[in-house]
Amino acid sequence: MVKSLKFRHSILSDSAEQINILKKFDESSFESYVKKSGFEKFLSRKIEIFQINMGKMCNQTCKHCHVDAGPDRKEIMTKETMMQCLEALENSDIQTVDLTGGAPEMNPDFKWFVEEIKKLNRHIIVRCNLTIILANPKFHYLPKFFSENRIEVVSSLPYYQKSNTDRQRGDGVFESSIKALKLLNESGYGKENSGLILNLVYNPTGAFLPANQSSLEKDFKTELFSKHGIVFNNLFTITNMPISRFLEYLLDSGNFEYYMEKLISSFNPSSVPNVMCRNTISIGWDGYLYDCDFNQMLDIKVNHSSPDHIKDFNTESLNSREIMTGNHCFGCTAGTGSSCGGAVV
């Protein structure tokens, strides 16, 4: 299995180095494009999504992972930080909690945390990589646990075929993902009228933009049902961000300039008002606050005039904060745009 950038002591494990590489495109900076779109100041709106990164530990080492997650990463959220998250949630009216990682289920306090959030009566999304369900008998409880807590499950499946999926996510991932999807379907997920939502995530297996979301969703539904009897609700198309391990792939394959030019030339002004940083707050495993999960991985904390740690969480000042941007942000505004919920246009 591939090791993380950090384990390999790659220069790219340093977020400052990544930012420096992206600065090559400063002449056509994201900031200038946003200004040209009519945003003199790029401000957030009311926070609607509380996205918590529960740690970088994962059972997979996907080639495009922006978190640089993997089995060799040990950074996980402590129970103390989770309690600070719960307190912040309790004192806010944010209705959606989005749990991500790594594999959030690998955090030993995952189950407890979900049950505590549930007590606050919030909608919970778990970004489940599917294979974790079968990775170890101790995770076999997950489909039942998810359904009992009415959790929305969002799972990556970069393509409806084995070869493309395994090339990106590792050997055997496709078959294991199919088995896990069948288990989720057996628990009611993706079934009509069950109310149990199962959404899949497509992201390109290379240096190109995602296909049209609705057209690809039809293909996924047809192929997964006809070949495997699998059903799901929606497909989200997500653009690969030119950071972390995907940045490594771009540099190693000689596609970096080409991909950045593609993102920049595909800048879509109508995507700007709907990008996810405008209604999301991202909480790191150590409790620091970011405008999005990508800024988190580049260690770009929320604007300095806003509280930047969950212990000081204050929706009033965070609701209208100036969003921190960089050239990686072109990944969210290219074509039909991209967010954790798929295309934005």
Partner: protein, 109 residues
């Protein structure tokens, strides 16, 4: 000499420099042709990929290999499209075998 340079593809729009009026007409037409219609954008992309190979245009091959991926096509679908192109190109040569046979039969005892 490297006659075709991949970076020249980006300069396609520069043809307007010598005749903006005709260039505009062409690019407007081009855009309309590839818009979703009775055929999907994906079907049109695969046709374009196949034709690119038939006319052996390096720019078109690069452009539509990339475009087909961005339309959600997989490698097998793309290769099948190229086989369609090859079958027509090969078939076009082979079907002229009938002309050869017609002539041979005409002049032979």
């Amino acid at each position: 000499m490297e006659y075709y340079k991949s970076e020249d593809l980006k300069k396609f729009g520069d043809i307007a420099e010598y005749d903006p009026e005709l260039a505009k007409k062409f690019f407007d037409y081009y855009g309309a042709v590839f818009a979703e219609g009775a055929l999907t954008e994906r079907e049109k992309s695969l046709i374009a990929l196949a034709v690119s190979h038939a006319v052996q245009c390096p720019y078109c091959i690069d452009a539509y290999s990339h475009d087909a991926l961005e339309k959600g096509c997989n490698e097998k679908q793309m290769m099948e499209a190229i086989h369609v192109s090859a079958a027509i190109k090969g078939g076009a040569a082979l079907v002229h075998g009938v002309q050869m046979m017609n002539h041979v039969k005409k002049v032979s005892m």
